[in-house]
């Protein structure tokens, strides 16, 4: 059999075609032994809590005394409750700030940085823009709460340039609280998007740009004809990660507004927390959590599909 190989390296087929028998079985056991610890952790800390959440969602339970089975009552209440429904609308609105804005700005900054990719300036701007990614979200929330307070830097700058009429308590105003929370999220997400897209751009064959230029394409045409289509996969990752961050947001909102003023910045993550720990309606909180997980999947899976198919 060995003589049959004539040239080249041993391919994948060859490895796969080794004779079945004891070796193969032993390898199977080794593989299993390697997988088991991770699988156990996954089952105990991911699947089991998930299953328990589904179970709790069918009960009326305060977390301590005996629970009563209520069927799908907790789920039907979700649709009648304007507060829970409003929190979902807020989360959907946050997608604009947490996802669209950073992806668009990320594209723009990455396209600019690529032009002077080897210079020191590119390194500095990459580092600066990526910095928010390494700061804990809670710290980012606290920092921006100071910046956007009534005496904070944002209002000081506005006053300095004579825009006194615009100053306000950004996080305490019904009109501006949600966008203000959105700004924090956009600031955090921008670095990741920029870096991912920049990495994607460096993979693009320079010959393509050369050809485009020979055909007389300008920078804008180049961007839309070559850069953007080549980044489909990276864009998919960016959009998926940021949309999930928008929908599942908790820390930034909890630190900066705690859902207020009124319920202007209430998001499902916070509502689940309030229901479970303050109202002690564990069943209702679980139902909202399950329904919300389904909603997240319903939004994220099509994005994954769209960006993956274009790859083929």
């Amino acid at each position: 059999m060995m003589q049959m190989r004539t040239t080249g390296r041993p391919g994948l087929r060859e490895v796969a075609e080794q004779p079945h028998g004891l070796d193969d079985r032993r390898r199977g056991w080794v593989a299993l032994a390697l997988v088991v610890p991770a699988a156990v952790v996954y089952v105990v800390f991911v699947l089991r809590p998930l299953a328990l959440t589904v179970q709790y969602s069918f009960y009326d339970w305060n977390g301590i005394s005996a629970a009563t089975w209520v069927g799908i009552d907790n789920y039907t209440r979700l649709f009648g409750d304007s507060e829970m429904f409003g929190s979902i609308l807020n989360a959907l609105q946050l997608i604009i700030y947490f996802s669209f804005v950073p992806v668009l700005l990320g594209l723009l900054t990455a396209a600019i940085i690529r032009k002077f990719a080897t210079s020191r300036l590119a390194l500095v701007s990459r580092t600066v823009l990526f910095l928010p990614q390494v700061i804990p979200l809670v710290a980012a929330g606290i920092m921006w709460t100071w910046l956007m307070s009534s005496d904070g830097l944002v209002n000081q700058v506005l006053r300095a340039v004579g825009l006194d009429s615009l100053t306000r308590a950004w996080l305490g105003d019904f009109q501006t609280a949600l966008p203000a929370v959105g700004v924090i999220g956009a600031w955090v997400a921008l670095g990741l998007c920029m870096l991912l897209l920049l990495a994607g751009m460096t993979k693009i064959d320079p010959a393509l740009y050369e050809a485009a230029r020979l055909d007389g394409a300008g920078a804008v045409r180049e961007f839309f004809a070559i850069t953007l289509p080549s980044l489909r996969q990276e864009l998919g990752v960016c959009i998926t990660v940021t949309v999930i961050a928008a929908l599942a947001s908790f820390d930034i909102v909890y630190i900066s507004t705690q859902g207020g003023p009124g319920n202007a910045t209430l998001v499902p993550g916070l509502e689940i927390y309030y229901l479970a720990f303050f109202s002690r309606e564990v069943g209702q909180a679980s139902a909202l959590a399950v329904a919300f997980m389904v909603l997240v999947l319903a939004i994220v899976l099509p994005i994954q599909r769209l960006t993956r198919e274009g790859d083929r």
Binding site: V43, L47, R48, L50, A51, L52, V54, Q55, Y56, Y59, D60, W61, N62, G63, I64, S65, A66, A67, T68, W69, E83, S149, S150, R168, A169, W170, L171, G172, D173, F174, T257, Q258, G259, G260, P261, G262, N263, Y274, F277, F278, S279, R280, E281, V282
Partner: protein, 456 residues
């Protein structure tokens, strides 16, 4: 694609099988009900006369207290000094954390002494020790009944009647602090005697370019509940408000006099008497603005008296929310700084002895007044430490005596149910500021929230 499809199907069925395997188990909460039953059944309660003592053997009392308030720890230190066999194992958290942790902590690892949030649900669930036995053996039932009435919970979870489930390390009271210098600046030398005079005082401050009140009302803190409840007491009867807080059947917050109070508060908002960024101010920001002399008034409680005496000696005055007409009825939010003993706590007798000591020992009472700024519990003629007459602590203590005479003490409307503050008052008060809610709508909405909670 087909391999992918098969893999996805396999993964899905695996997940479903896992879900079904777990959901096939018994209903949640079953495990703890056994212990609950025994607790509510009275085996964990101190029924009959029980002698509370710490004995002479070494005892370590576990205590779960609120962070940021030095008074309980000072009491612990003094107690250890007097009873060296007793030491304390202290865990501290913010009040909001204690609120959400209370049921779990009391069920899983019951402390001997615990700062309690709203307690009726905890008592109903059998998580707190019934203290009636100690009350009769140690004479707590000889104290003015109003001191402990808020700590009684009946079988249905309604407060005001039934067994005693908590004790106070002093009781605190709210009113209005004012900056004497700023008041003098606008020509006010005496506290207002009527609501109209208070209105006038705030208008004068506003005209002079001083923020009348930088009350906190941002995030999860509906601090306008303080002036609102004061106004409710000026317009109406405190008994009705207590009935509502205690969850007496048929009680409502949506009454004619409460509507007048809410409308009065709204008139203050509309007149610009509060800071314009009130919906983003938290408690500490309010404190710092008041202490830096940026606002004339602060609707707050006597737990800050000691602090204000230290930070702004001689510069702060205190008055109760004035009545509609001079000499009229007065009311104030006044509640014990509630502590309880876990139903399954390890050293309940020693914990109860500590409570009794805190109310009767002269050193302990002095600490409560000087450090906590609060009036200690106990007999009406019990020892009281000498307090500097110029201090704001002296004024809050005097106000407490007045409220006692007028029988105007109410619990906090924020304490009616576990979530009424977070889900009812706070969002509605913030909307009231922003003009997105009117006084009538606010009361109706809070009442709806209340009924849905105590109903389900």
């Amino acid at each position: 694609m087909s391999t992918k499809g098969r893999r996805a199907a396999a993964a899905t069925s695996l997940c479903l099988a896992g879900l079904l395997a777990v959901t096939a188990c018994s209903a949640p909460g079953g495990g703890t009900t056994d212990t609950d039953d025994s607790a509510t059944g009275g085996s964990g309660s101190a029924t009959g006369d029980v002698t509370a003592t710490c004995g002479t053997d070494p005892v370590t009392l576990s205590a779960y207290i609120e962070t940021g308030f030095p008074m309980p720890k000072d009491l612990f230190d003094e107690f250890t000094k007097q009873y060296p066999n007793v030491t304390f194992d202290v865990r501290e958290d913010q009040f909001a954390v204690i609120t959400q942790n209370a049921p779990r902590v009391l069920a899983d690892d019951p402390p001997d002494l615990m700062r309690l949030p709203q307690m009726s649900e905890l008592a109903k669930d059998g998580l707190l020790l019934d203290l009636d036995g100690y009350a009769s053996s140690m004479g707590w039932d000889q104290w003015p009944a109003s001191q402990l009435v808020q700590l009684r919970v009946d079988d249905d979870g309604a407060r005001g009647e039934g067994p005693l489930y908590g004790m106070g390390l002093g009781f605190s009271m709210t009113g209005v602090f004012y900056n004497k210098d700023l008041a003098a600046q606008i020509g006010v030398t005496e506290p207002p005697a009527t609501l109209a005079e208070l209105d006038d005082m705030m208008q004068k401050a506003k005209d002079a370019g001083i923020t009348p009140a930088a009350q906190f009302n941002g995030g999860a803190t509906g601090g306008l509940a303080f002036p609102l409840q004061g106004l409710m007491a000026s317009y109406g009867d405190t008994t009705e408000i207590n009935d509502w807080i205690f969850q007496r059947s048929g009680a409502t917050i949506d009454t004619e006099t409460n509507l007048q109070a809410a409308e009065h508060l709204k008139s203050w908002i509309d007149a610009g008497y509060f800071a314009d960024d009130i919906n983003s101010l938290d408690y500490s920001m309010m404190m710092s603005r008041f202490m830096e002399g940026e606002s004339l008034l602060m609707f707050n409680g006597d737990w800050e008296s000691g602090n204000l005496d230290a930070q702004m000696p001689g510069k702060v005055g205190f008055f109760l929310m004035p009545p509609l007409e001079e000499g009229g009825d007065l009311g104030a939010m006044s509640a014990p700084l509630t502590f309880g003993i876990g139903a399954q706590a390890e050293h309940p007798d020693c914990a109860a002895f500590f409570f009794d000591w805190a109310a009767t020992n002269e050193e302990a009472r002095t600490i409560q007044v000087e450090v906590g700024g609060s009036h200690p519990l106990g007999l009406a003629d019990a020892f009281m430490p000498e307090v500097d007459a110029d201090s704001v602590t002296a004024q809050t203590l005097a106000a407490g005596a007045t409220i006692g005479e007028k029988d105007g003490a109410m619990d906090f409307i924020a304490n009616a149910t576990g979530a009424i503050y977070a889900k009812g008052w706070t969002p509605n008060l913030q909307k009231l500021v922003a003009g997105q809610q009117d006084p009538a709508g606010m009361l109706a909405d809070v009442q709806k929230q209340y009924e849905s909670e105590i109903g389900g």
